[in-house]
Symmetry: C2
């Protein structure tokens, strides 16, 4: 039975997609079956793995089919799941039409449960399901938080990123109260950390003092290889396994999986 983790933060550009793609790939490197769900209409996670064309079937079809749970079967979902270059990693790619679906969802019945309905059917096929969310607290992000067991929050080591946390925690509490009482915090991951910048250190201190929820020991350093690898359609471990960015995401996966010891 898969653990479903939503990677969420309404602040833009904090490393949600980079974390979703590279944490998934690192989990797959430890031979745990993982499904990455790209719930962002921008489709960056899909592009980062080389899916640059709109697919025949993707997340859009699944969320539409979920309007009528009775007709949704494992068989009907087969076409939306795509293999990746890593044996233990699959993806449900995004679709730009998700932005339009978000508007339709506003007036739909049980709109918050669409993704949960889909992923509950797939849970037995994987050990982890990782959801990449868009930069907003709208219906798509609510769907991700409603479907998830836990939420992992990337926080960029900069001032604006700190400010959004309180609002995000409010939204999480709202989802726990109204749609998904079992939702828990997986933890905060500090991203784009530069040890030589006092700004980074200040933000880290502030996050540690203000947020009692778990903060991952692994911090992701700013590393240009992480910004280069998506343009080659590869996760970092296939683009440059030796770089600090790859080592950081492997360490993060080990921390998540509870595998002891250093890299």
């Amino acid at each position: 039975m898969a653990k479903i983790i939503s990677i969420s933060n309404q602040k833009g550009g904090v490393g949600k997609t980079t974390t979703a793609v590279n944490l998934s790939a690192s989990i797959a490197a430890f031979e745990r079956k993982v499904l990455l769900v790209d719930l962002d209409p921008q489709g960056n996670a899909s592009q980062g793995l080389g899916f640059n064309e709109i697919q025949d079937e993707d997340i859009y079809e699944a969320l539409e089919m979920a309007a009528d749970p009775a007709t949704l079967t494992l068989e009907s979902l087969k076409g939306i799941i795509k293999p990746t270059a890593l044996k233990y990693m699959h993806i449900i790619p995004s679709n730009p039409g998700l932005a339009g679906l978000e508007l339709d969802l506003v007036t739909a019945d049980r709109r918050e449960y669409r993704l949960a309905t889909v992923l509950n059917l797939l849970r037995d096929q994987y050990e982890y399901i990782i959801i990449d969310s868009p930069p907003s607290l709208s219906q798509l992000t609510i769907n991700a938080l409603t479907a998830a067991d836990t939420v992992l929050i990337p926080v960029q080591c900069e001032f604006y990123s700190l400010n959004g946390l309180a609002e995000l925690y409010n939204t999480i509490r709202g989802v726990q109260k109204n749609f998904n009482s079992k939702l828990r915090h997986e933890g905060v991951v500090l991203t784009m950390y530069s040890s030589q910048l006092s700004l980074s250190k200040e933000v880290v201190e502030q996050v540690k003092s203000e947020y009692s929820e778990k903060i991952f020991k692994t911090m992701i350093p700013r590393n240009v290889k992480l910004a280069e690898s998506p343009s080659h359609g590869k996760p970092i471990i296939l683009y440059d396994i030796q770089c600090v960015g790859a080592k950081a995401y492997i360490a993060l996966a080990k921390e998540l999986l509870g595998i002891p010891g250093d890299m």
Copy 2:
């Protein structure tokens, strides 16, 4: 009569807020009256200028009042406009409630014209009105594009940022066709440029070859001072006028205003 410029890009973290705040401040430094409108529920532009508390009146009241244009007067808008540390710069601060308003707008009549109704009343008081948009193509961004004369697009010099441009241009064409036929491109501003990274150079080449619309000659370099200044509640020209980030935004303002010569 003010020129209204919307700073928009649905990709997160590309420098929309940093550009909105620092371009406005640089315009004010050239003694042109400028109004900054914070249309992002995150309220980063407001925070970046020291407005850390929710104001008595702000953009939320204005957009609500605009539901009934007949009752909206210059007098009723007085309370939403706040002075800043710069004599020629005012701001209409954000409100977290904007996210909820966005949902209300989905079913409201003439929902796209709320901000345009407000800003048309204020046009005669300023030479420039700059709008900071949220990272999405939702109702708030549509409101910004409908109210604007031109749209300025910050593009971070990285792969994911390139991918979103086609979708953004589609949205702009949609707004031109349905809500605001006079909307034009102000241009693309390349942000977080690092001259020593080949990734930056590749993205710049690609933007230049793919987008025929104007690209500003001024590129904004990656400069940690730009990430530090918001935590002091100051635009870059008041935080560190000598740094490369401040020089870049002053040069950008000169290019926008048509003031010849180097810094």
